[in-house]
């Protein structure tokens, strides 16, 4: 579904990504692991066109997207849940969710998606009219994921959804991600919490200093000595 072929990205003269290739098939959850500063977020930003690659190309369902505007890439079926969550603090939950499905014309389908979001995160329905800035960190994370669902994306990019959450909430969020995937949305999950990420993912990549160093199925990754040492031990 999403194919990234050998992209190289620079901030000024500093090379962040070097010849990175990823492939995400339909219906998968793919985990992208890596230490701080490895370039995980840069990959996501490159996919949605906030940063332009110098080399390489990106295809979404055989359509080249790396030259398109961000707004068009999003409309083509990608939704992004940002690392800092990127909610709109002075708007209420419902308005935040509505912005997620801004370009959907059919109201019935918006209602249906909204209902799905509320089923997944009942707390959002309870606080529907509350300003998003007054929510707790966990609720903001749920709102960000819910807003990502509202656009009915083909593929959802999640940037560290477990960041700053209590262990209980992390489980809840990962459970929700799995359910979203079960309903047919492909997911690219960027995580530092490798234990949790490898539990729900079907394949994984490990990024180190801007390069993919390991890729494979979950089983292979779990048995890999480097990963065991760097990510899975406490």
């Amino acid at each position: 579904m999403l194919k990234i072929n050998g992209i190289t990205t620079r901030y000024g003269t500093v090379e962040i990504l070097r010849d990175v290739s990823l492939k995400i098939n339909e219906g998968e959850i793919v985990a992208l692991l890596g230490a701080n500063g490895a370039g995980k977020t840069t990959i996501l930003n490159t996919i949605i066109g906030l940063i332009r690659p110098i080399h390489g190309n990106i295809y979404l369902e055989n359509k080249r997207i790396d030259k398109m505007k961000t707004s068009e890439i999003i409309k083509a079926g990608i939704s992004m849940v940002m690392e800092n969550r990127g909610i709109f603090p002075d708007l209420n939950i419902l308005e935040n969710l509505r912005i997620g499905s801004l370009y959907e014309k059919d109201e019935k389908s918006i209602n249906k998606t909204l209902k799905e979001v509320y089923d997944l995160f009942p707390i959002l329905k309870e606080r529907e009219n509350q300003l998003a800035g007054t929510l707790s960190g966990g609720e903001q994370g749920m709102l960000a994921i819910g807003r990502g669902m509202m656009g009915k994306p083909k593929i959802m990019l999640l940037d560290e959804p477990s960041l700053g959450l209590a262990p209980m909430l992390v489980d809840e969020v990962f459970e929700a991600i799995k359910r979203i995937n079960n309903e047919g949305t492909t997911i690219l999950l960027v995580e530092q919490n490798a234990v949790k990420a490898l539990k729900i993912a079907s394949r994984g990549y490990v990024l180190q200093k801007g390069q993919i160093v390991i890729e494979g199925s979950i089983k292979e990754l779990k048995e890999n000595e480097v990963i065991k040492k760097a990510y899975l031990t406490i």
Binding site: I48, L50, K69, T70, S71, I73, I74, K75, M80, M82, G86, I87, F88, P89, D90, L91, L94, E95, R98, I99, G100, L102, Y103, E107, I110, N111, L114, K115, Y118, K125, R147, G151
Partner: protein
């Protein structure tokens, strides 16, 4: 269930409820209107100012009473259109009350013009978060376009106002496209520069009449009826200002309808998203440049419209009317009333045009007064006088039965 007695009982109960709603609306609106009239017509320290204080005290006492506040809230939410129509009827009657006092009518017209401009600025400052200090320039572009066309080329007022709208929208697009990449302080600084450039230009260019301005701008004419003649309704002679009063009233109502529609539309939501977080908005697929340009152009249209009417009403314009001060006053109105809140902007525009007229002995220090207001609002009530916002979606209708 089929007992007719219960049915008629139900019916009489809803009727009783409806009447109580109507009565509440009529009583509250007449009180507010009466306060407003007294406030407007008081001279210095006057017994009428004390009439103003009484309802305010009553408001604070009754606010604790759950039953009354509920009744008021319910009646306004249930009979929304009735309350609007009744208020409009009261406002329509103002020229009849002030038919001997054209000065008060003049204040009303000016506060209407300020309101139109503030609604336009609210789109930029309140909804989109663009701190635009060049709004007086939009006002000026409208006024000069219309004045130059009617004086030099003998256009009619109606063509003039149309041209003013188009030219000011283009001017808004120009400023908008030049400032696309800048936000926050930088945007404010650039617009300040534009405002000062505009003021210097109209002050020094030949065809705008320099500092002398343009005089003898013709009054609007409909058919053979000129706006300079006194208005005669039901045998009552109203001063010529009444013509402009009703013209401004119609445009104010039209503008209010328009901004309300915009606020509840997808465009309004896009503007809010841009204000909150540009990068997050971009990640939701919003075209930032388009949203900002729309806000810039639509806001400018309101400024241009007000400018054109102003030029033909005063029939004389000079650069001094479009200086930096006016921009500051408009920003003050929007901040006082409540950013991105239409009701707040109405309140702010009325208060900040009438109060300075009431304290004329203070006239030299007018800008000081506005400065104090801004500081006080930002410290004590940063959300403005009316912080509450209600956004209506069509897709919320399902809420009760579907979820």
């Amino acid at each position: 269930m089929n007992n007719p007695n219960i049915k008629s009982n139900d019916y009489s109960q809803t009727l009783y409820k409806k009447i109580s709603y109507f009565l509440t609306i009529i009583v509250t609106e007449v009180i507010i209107f009466y306060m407003f009239i007294n406030f407007l017509s008081s001279e210095g320290i006057d017994y009428r100012l004390f009439l103003l204080i009484l309802p305010i005290i009553a408001f604070f006492i009754l606010r604790g009473n759950q039953k009354i506040t509920n009744l008021v809230k319910e009646s306004y939410s249930q009979c929304n259109s009735f309350s609007t129509i009744f208020m409009i009827l009261l406002i329509v009657s103002i020229p009849f009350l002030f038919k001997d006092n054209t000065y008060l009518l003049h204040i009303c017209i000016m506060s209407g013009l300020y309101l139109i401009m503030a609604l336009g600025l609210n789109i930029q400052l309140g909804s989109t978060g663009m701190v635009n200090f060049a709004f007086a320039a939009f006002f000026g572009v409208g006024a000069y376009t219309s004045a130059l066309l009617t004086v030099n080329f003998h256009f009619s007022f109606w063509l003039g106002i149309l041209a003013a709208i188009i030219i000011s929208a283009l001017f808004g697009l120009l400023i908008g496209s030049l400032t696309l990449k800048s936000t926050g302080f930088y945007y404010a600084l650039i617009t300040m520069a534009f405002q000062i450039i505009f003021h210097l230009l109209v002050n020094n260019l030949k065809f705008t009449g320099g500092s002398g301005g343009i005089s003898n701008i013709p009054f609007p004419i409909i058919g053979k009826y000129s706006f300079s003649s006194s208005l005669n309704i039901f045998g009552i002679n109203l001063p010529f200002q009444a013509n402009f009063y009703y013209l401004v009233l119609i445009i104010v109502l039209f503008s209010l309808y328009l901004v309300k529609r915009l606020y509840n539309s997808r465009t309004g939501l896009v503007w809010n998203a841009i204000r909150e977080d540009e990068i997050a908005a971009k990640c939701q697929g919003i075209n930032i440049a388009q949203g900002k340009l729309e806000a810039s152009a639509i806001g400018a249209i309101f400024g241009g419209m007000a400018g054109s009417i102003y030029a033909h009403y005063i029939s004389f314009i000079s650069p001094e009317s479009f200086s930096f001060d006016l921009s500051v006053v408009l920003i003050c109105i929007v901040i006082l009333g409540g950013l991105d809140n239409i009701l707040g902007v109405i309140l702010g525009a009325i208060l900040l045009t009438i109060i300075p007229e009431k304290i004329r002995f203070f006239a030299e220090a007018r800008m000081l007064f506005y400065g104090i207001i801004i500081i006080a609002v930002l410290i004590f009530k940063p959300q403005g006088l009316i912080p509450e916002k209600i956004r209506k979606y069509n897709f919320l209708n399902f809420k009760k039965d579907n979820i």
